[in-house]
Symmetry: C2
Subunit: 443 residues, 2 copies
């Protein structure tokens, strides 16, 4: 176990799109590859919102890392949390050990940023992991259950108010899908409440949603959101977030469910490199994707800050995959004694989905929205889903829910969640004062 | 909300097979139905072991109760925990309120029994709910991850030892499937361990597995288990269960994963009825399925103790469904002023699955095992799965895993589970003494 192999040891931190692409590019290379990830699966993050909104199951958008590399014998997978890198001794420090490397590829990505209000995290969960998605799914489903049993109209209204903070792709996807869920999926499931009266509010601090797109597509996206029933507020900031609601542009909104889709914070491991970071903690890499001043540490994906023609390479899957492949080309070149090449990002365009048959697409000069954009989005995402089985199952479930508006994964799996939610709502009063069920008298 | 409707109020506790059948039988009845369940979904329990062993996702075997009754307007669903019944005032006491009834149908089923050793529950989880299944899935997957990083051979062996306590259908299903997972599914996924050396031990106190079947089928089941690589121990008792292992017939077995599939304990709510219960807490009902001395409380499913031709009606889904329909016939008869009829169980036979192409079936005089029994089992279970979508998706996933031995739901979704598991294993030593990753030196 502790013998040093003859081949160089390449350690890849993170099994996201970047890390996966790097490991695959090393398939026939004379190196020993170790992938370290704190979860045992690669996550197809672009569809994570579908798990959070109960359309897909976690297994539909995640693949065990070991299964992906089953056939690549020079790869071993370690389930562990990398907490720091000792660049002097070429060691990765794990939460429960350490790992020597000759060449390191860091692809640990980014998480949420609450702009210095980490206390908001408990009231406004973000969406980065499967765990996040299951937490959000549970909150959303419980909100309707609580509203159904709620007799106090103000509290019922708060239970049926969903606020999404952040008008980027994730915020737009969540807002559009929640509007569909409330108006279509749940329409006939409840007796006491009219789910069509659910308020879904999307709050964006900037002047428009999907700022990465051209203005006309942002406008098209907003129009499609409003058609679905989403209230879009731009140019206002969300503050004072707690379990009772939030303040938007001075107005207090009582909302039981607040979702966070704003702000990015790069993985904290970069701080241990002792290199300059940008304002969100990304490593400002060299054109060859190296950490500044290092010869054997490559940084790729959402953790890398690299500019091209004056603008930042976006934190999207295609960029991460291109960087993973390029970092491998460079490290193999150095092993052959050849020079490294600078990275060039090939922009594949931008796609964002809003809801059923609603999306926007911007590919070079081509701009489209509505059904054609949505079909393109659907095609691309199913195409890239890892593993044939997932593709087929996901396609069937989409086809099914497209026809029926049904969502199969509407499960509250935590047995105590409902009670906790109720008690969180009203800690003070004794049971008999709690909102009774339909047709109910006090105990 | 609190107005009393003209029709009688029928409250059904539990949305299992019995409660569901009762509610459906009331479809066109002039009554107001309220279904109370602590989870928001009906669970297809016969396939729960497939979730626990990562073949299926929770959503594949569960359907939201609200969706099932979307079209049945006289049904409302309440997500709540029923803790007691006040038979004097005809009230169900919820953990957060109460609910009046005119007629009550109790179908809250049964849970595990640890024979007075409830302290074993933490070390040997049972399999009754989706939550249980996800806990077991996580433990099983983590056990292999820990073994892969473990350098101490004794600890590695303990991590690769799985003991299932109880030789009934659930125990046999879990043991057979875990043997398949270790020998087929994971065969090429690990580098440091040979998963084919995994020990799967099935412990049964009685003289044979599947005691409900005829002896020759029990023998066939045992033979099929052993062919899959399961060690079957009968006539021995498991004792002294803790996180390090258990004692079986005097011998101490170091095992990191122990699963509990023995013992049944009826739902505790029956204790509040003040009626005679059998030794596992079931209500000894009248032939009309009434609680003794009551005119408006029916008890059905696993919670009901009823004998027929001298033997207990088994706690299986068909019996619960027949009882649900029969209880409704009786309550509707009394509403019409007609007499109640006694319940007669129509035995549909017994089916138990062991693994891929391995099962036993006993239907009246017909007895079969192996592939034909398995195909019959597959057909019956897919047929009864609730909801077309589930049927189709489950069928595809089975077809897929049958061909490839793959299991799609191998996900550890709790981000901290791995670390907790490591620390649970070795609380004492500081990080640098913890078992290192492959090719690793001390920090």
């Amino acid at each position: 176990m502790t013998t040093t192999p003859p081949e160089p040891r390449v350690v890849i931190l993170g099994a996201g799109f970047g890390g996966l692409a790097a490991a695959r590019a090393l398939k026939r290379a004379p190196v020993r590859v170790t992938i370290v990830d704190r979860s045992n699966h690669h996550l197809f993050q672009p569809l994570l919102y579908q798990v959070a909104t109960a359309a897909l199951s976690p297994a539909d958008i995640a693949a065990p890392i070991r299964r992906i590399f089953r056939g690549q014998r020079n790869v071993s997978v370690v389930l562990a949390e990398a907490v720091a890198v000792d660049t002097a001794s070429n060691q990765v420090i794990l939460s429960d050990g350490s790992l020597d490397y000759d060449i390191l590829i860091v692809a640990t990505g980014a998480g949420h940023a609450y702009f210095g209000h980490d206390d908001w995290a408990a009231s406004a969960p973000g969406l980065k992991t499967l765990h996040d998605a299951l937490v959000i799914r549970q909150r959303v489903l419980l909100a309707f259950e609580l509203a159904e049993r709620e007799t106090d109209l103000a509290r019922r209204r708060a239970s049926m108010t969903f606020v999404i903070v952040g008008g980027g792709p994730t915020g737009v996807e969540l807002a559009g899908t929640l509007a569909e869920v409330s108006r279509q999926t749940l329409a006939r499931d409840f007796r006491a409440i009219d789910t069509a009266s659910t308020r879904v509010i999307l709050v964006e601090t900037g002047p428009r949603v999907l700022p990465a797109f051209d203005e006309d597509l942002s406008a098209a996206a907003r129009q499609q959101l409003e058609t679905l029933g989403v209230t879009v507020w731009t140019g206002v900031r969300a503050t004072d977030i707690n379990d009772s609601g939030l303040t938007v542009g001075g107005e207090r909104i009582a909302a039981r469910t607040i979702l966070w889709a704003a702000g990015v914070q790069a993985s904290p491991i970069a701080r241990s490199f002792n290199v300059p970071l940008d304002q969100v903690g990304r490593v400002i890499v060299t054109p060859e994707l190296l950490a500044p001043g290092s010869e054997n540490i490559y940084v790729i994906g959402d953790l890398a800050h690299i500019e091209q023609e004056g603008s930042l390479v976006p934190g999207v899957a295609p960029a991460a995959m291109q960087q993973g492949a390029h970092a491998v080309q460079n490290l193999l070149a150095t092993l052959r004694g050849e020079p490294r090449a600078p990275f060039h990002y090939r922009d594949k365009g931008l796609l964002a989905t809003i809801g059923r048959g609603a999306a926007v697409a911007q590919i070079g000069p081509i701009k489209t929205s509505g059904l054609p954009a949505w079909l393109l989005w659907l095609f691309v995402h199913i195409l890239f889903l890892i593993g044939f089985r997932n593709r087929l199952v996901v396609f069937i479930q989409w086809a099914w829910s497209y026809v029926t508006f049904d969502r199969g994964a509407r499960l509250i799996t935590d047995p105590l969640a409902a009670q906790r939610a109720r008690h969180q709502d009203q800690p003070a009063p004794p049971p008999q004062d709690q909102p009774p069920a339909p047709g109910v008298g006090p105990a």
